[in-house]
Symmetry: C2
Subunit: 663 residues, 2 copies
């Protein structure tokens, strides 16, 4: 293919999809045409531009030489690691002071993406007069100071700006990761990080470690289920309960350690991510003054600033409290009765046909409720005035998880705790686990593929229909950039504005974790199901990302965010529910008698809760070597720069001291 040859040298990373308006005009594009203007402006900014005509859309592919990226990075004031280990705002002139990535490039994909965005959305009309943009036949004014791309987006000429796959790296990853079935859980995390950004790499690192650790409770669950322990049978379930809780507590503590080590290692890919936090704090005052003037100002402003910070903090806290109270109340008052009504009706109704109808209605209704809940959550979050995009994502996760928690577990609680119907409980658990295993994995992978295939088919058919009239040559092949464009984006099922597809992937994991942990004593086999599911999940998710999705927009967060707290919450919940299950398992007559057995279970529950909250104090979250490396970097840098630097401060200070004496 000719396209492949061209790509050899330059890797196009961003594409702009344009609607094909004036196709009838042919190729004679004049200089006033808005697309031509856009292309020219891109070229002026130093980008490498290529126009590709697809079957149904036109595309502009963009690549940037290192220098252009570097200058954009300097404008954005990216903090990057220098060779002495200290982080500094990037300067293009001093680029050699900064650490390069293992593949030799200066910027990670996440940083490059932000640079591209900065460049292409930074194209404004710098002249003083209005430029008239012609599109098809109408003309539109491009006013001074207006962003060209936003204007064209508003005019619907630019349909979308999206990141492009890098074919060479994609194929490498396909081979080394998605199709590498030999090793169950190990993955090339560094390559994933370099291609997809640090957030997705963290997800896969978590998934890998979770699956690897899952083998232990899976084996234990199989043993408990299938081996007869004779007279010790009564003690087996409590023992299993203690084991699985300890396992979960240890796993998450060690995950924190691993995450700390991982983010220390992957930090070079996305230090810029941490910058957003600094920016939001209003430090962008006039920094041109000398340090001593700053000092003066600082002291005089400090009290005022402190008061305003405190006011803001409390206001934010109150808003968050109000929102959370609203969400919790509406879940309890609206969703809980609905779910209980469904569970009760399902239990009461005898006819299978009615049951089936009821379930169908229920499934439709919860689809609608979830959407609605997501929308409400998004609206509430807008009022919360969160500083950071990741904070906002976390806020959404907490809110929406409440919804899913009720939806997924209330029915099971109903069967388990109120009706004490252990047979139904086990059936429901098996159904849910199998459904989540088979169906969700299938849906997850087939829906994007089907939608992509359908879109591709429609594009080709439309093209053929149009061309039938004019020419009769054989149909042109669909260009790869158009294929990329037709692929679905990696978006969340709700709250797309602030979350991406990771939301659904994590949600699936969390719901599975809750299912297997909270009812572990009722169904020890669940861990084995989950282990098998997760092994396939790793490769399926990889395949989905590599083959069926557009390249996702990279995120610079190096943790699993709010999900960690949700996992922890589920552990605590499962201590309580399993204790209740054990009480009800041993007390079949329903005497509710506080026998020594019940007392023992209560004591065990409290001990486990203590372990849960005490363990994090025993095993530190950050490995000693990570901490030591951090400290070392700081002290080394300080030692090296302090002398010359101090001189400059003290020079200023002497002037200042002199002035003060004069006053």
């Amino acid at each position: 293919m000719s396209e492949n040859d061209k790509e050899e040298g330059v890797v196009f990373e961003i594409a702009v999809a344009l609607s094909k308006w004036g196709e009838s005009k042919g190729d004679q594009s004049d200089e006033d045409d808005c697309v031509q203007v856009l292309v020219n402006e891109f070229r002026k900014k130093g980008l490498i531009v290529e126009r590709v005509v697809g079957l149904q859309n036109e595309f502009v592919r963009l690549a940037a030489p290192p220098e252009i990226l570097g200058k954009a990075a300097a404008e954005l004031k990216f903090r990057k690691r220098t060779h002495i280990g200290m982080d500094f705002p990037f300067e293009w002139d001093e680029a050699s002071a900064f650490v390069r990535l293992p593949d030799g490039s200066l910027f990670s994909w996440c940083e490059r993406f932000r640079c591209y965005n900065h460049i292409i959305y930074g194209i404004v009309n710098t002249g003083k007069s209005i430029v008239v943009l012609k599109s098809d036949c109408t003309g539109v004014d491009w006013r001074p100071g207006e962003s060209l791309l936003r204007k064209l987006e508003a005019m619907r000429i630019v349909k979308e700006v999206f990141p492009l796959h890098d074919e060479r790296k994609r194929k490498q990853l396909l081979k080394s990761w998605a199709m590498n079935w030999l090793d169950f859980t190990s993955q090339p995390i560094d390559d994933i990080c370099s291609y997809y950004g640090i957030k997705i790499a963290t997800y896969f690192a978590f998934l890998g470690m979770y699956t690897k650790w899952m083998f232990f409770p899976a084996a234990l669950g199989l043993t408990v289920q299938f081996v007869d322990f004779g007279s010790f049978q009564l003690l087996v379930l409590p023992f299993f309960f203690i084991c699985q809780i300890s396992w979960a507590v240890a796993f998450f503590q060690f995950w924190k350690r691993k995450n700390a080590a991982l983010s220390a290692r992957l930090q070079i890919y996305d230090l810029a991510g941490h910058e957003s936090e600094y920016k939001s704090l209003r430090t962008e005052q006039s920094l041109s003054a000398s340090p001593t003037e700053l000092m003066k100002k600082q002291i005089s402003d400090r009290m005022k600033e402190k008061a305003s910070f405190q006011r803001e903090e409390w206001f934010r806290w109150l808003m968050r409290l109000r929102n959370d109270a609203f969400i919790i109340l509406s879940i309890i008052c609206l969703q809980l009765p609905f779910e209980l009504a469904y569970a009760h009706l399902y239990e009461v109704i005898g006819s299978d046909l009615l049951k089936f109808c009821l379930t169908a209605v229920y499934l439709l209704a919860i689809q609608y409720f979830t959407r609605l809940g997501g929308k409400i959550a998004m609206k509430l979050i807008k009022y919360e005035n969160n500083e950071n995009v990741e904070y906002r994502a976390n806020s959404l996760v907490y809110k929406v998880f409440g919804l899913y928690f009720m939806q997924s577990y209330i029915g099971i609680f109903y069967h388990a705790l109120l009706h004490r119907n252990f047979r139904t409980l086990r059936q429901v658990l098996i159904q849910r686990l199998l459904i989540s295993e088979v169906l969700e994995n299938l849906l997850e992978n087939s829906i994007p593929y089907l939608s992509y295939s359908f879109k591709k088919f429609r594009t080709v058919r439309n093209k053929l229909k149009c061309e039938k009239g004019s020419s009769t040559g054989k149909p042109r092949p669909i260009p790869r950039i158009e294929k990329d464009y037709l692929k679905p984006a990696y978006a969340a099922s709700i709250g797309q504005e602030i979350e991406d597809g990771l939301f659904d992937d994590f949600l699936e994991l969390v719901l599975q974790f809750g299912m297997i942990m909270m009812f572990a004593c009722a169904f020890p086999l669940a861990f084995a199901f989950a282990a098998v599911n997760n092994i396939t999940e790793i490769r399926a998710d990889a395949l989905k990302l590599l083959a069926m999705m557009r390249r996702p927009i990279p995120r610079a967060d190096a943790t699993i965010g709010a999900w960690l707290n949700i996992f922890q919450f589920l552990i605590v919940m499962s201590i309580c529910t399993n204790s209740a299950l054990l009480v009800w398992l041993y007390d079949r007559e329903g005497k509710w008698h506080l026998s020594p057995g019940l007392a023992a279970i209560l004591v065990m529950e409290h001990v486990l809760l203590f372990i849960k909250f005490g363990f994090s104090r025993i095993v530190p979250e950050e490995p000693a070597w990570v901490r030591a490396a951090r400290m070392k970097n700081v002290t080394q840098a300080e030692k090296m720069c302090s002398k010359q630097f101090l001189r400059s401060i003290s020079g200023d200070e002497k002037c200042y001291g002199g002035k003060k004496k004069d006053e």
Copy 2:
């Protein structure tokens, strides 16, 4: 007094107490005399020295001019805040770049104390030959490279090195703090910090806030005790329980916030304290090389270093685990039966005389056990290889608290939970609270005073006895420095090597907190007792520190350390014990029936535990303005120094790059 006049200009801060050997020789001190050698060496170091002859001992008072201190600080590489907000190792030449304290001095008391120590223990024989020190009639060799002060300490000529009170500041504090009874809880924290160091200031800030917050549960407790709520009487105790737990949870969260704000404000007094943490990590490699060489070395060493760090971390973890297991097991296996035996015997024995004897024996025994426990804990800690002196202190606190916990509460648990003897329980609580209130406060203040008076009396008597033979003039007044020397040191009752008097003060607070919280439902009046106690405690502790103790050795830690975790632990314990108390209060017949009431209490317990662990997520530990100020300092400094600094790195890097290409 002539002494006062002399002091006007120079503040002597350190004293060396010498034994008076050759008093008979009179004043003709020759140059070889070891005391004279010491004084000469002090003078050589630039210190201002004054010899004072007391009644029974001789003293050398020391003061240091700012320059001497500054140079010592530079040698110690103190990190200090500069005017631009960044922290740098101190340099005397650039002293004006560093922030001065509010009173105009460059170093805080803690920093000065460390400098003094560095200077006086840093006196070594720099010559190549052995110097013979004469003392009385014997001569001792002072070998090259040997520390003079340590030598003299080993020879028992130097009895002690101790910090001196600054009379002017002491009197000011006495007026503004200890004798200022007008305002119950407010204290001049900044002055305390400047005079005693940050750790003691933090203790008093905590005590003040704790007492202030205590008024609320005290009022509630009084209401619950004395108001009759009629038909709601049944619900009053659960309500009180919920209120006091919420109060405790909120208090400690807000204390964390206050502590963060406090340490941000008091940071200027003791930034040097943080340095110890850096030091212990082995960063002290050859730093003379260029950054690029460092880089090379860093990369090559990284894997090795990481492995060694991990090994060390795990080893330390195992040692700590072993020690904790040992302590816990020995408390459970040895102490628990002993305490239970005492409680049981006390319950069983009828005769009052026997009871009294039993209690006397018991009190003697626990004195011995506590000492023994402290010694064992100290030995175990030595194996733990803790990096930091404050870590070691925390480790001691945890271990010893286990002992005290058993000692203080097991008897009460026995009465409360096993015998359900609420009358005895209340009696015991009142006894303990009154004892702790009256007796401990009395003892705490009178024992130091009595011991001081006794020592002073003995000194004067000895002097008189000696002088009776020789001369008959009226007795010389005892010099103030000797009075200071005779005062007891601010030392912990156990583990003096790593803890000071704060240990006992905090222990008292913690035991009181446990007593009032864990049995709140049995005795709501306890909070009022505690509030009154704490109000007197503030002034009594202040008086003790100012008037009856030597000036304590300053500590640079800005938190209440392990005690915070112990308080948190006591909150969790009190949720459980109060739930149990409520169950037993409402279930007087002992039917152990899981009635709705019991179920409600269980649910309440779980909700409270959730609140306990959830609240810390809702209210952040660090106020927003503290965080913002920190960030601002960092970014400002980086912005200012980055340009020139980057150039130096990238220059080096270019050379390095060139070299690499050549290879």
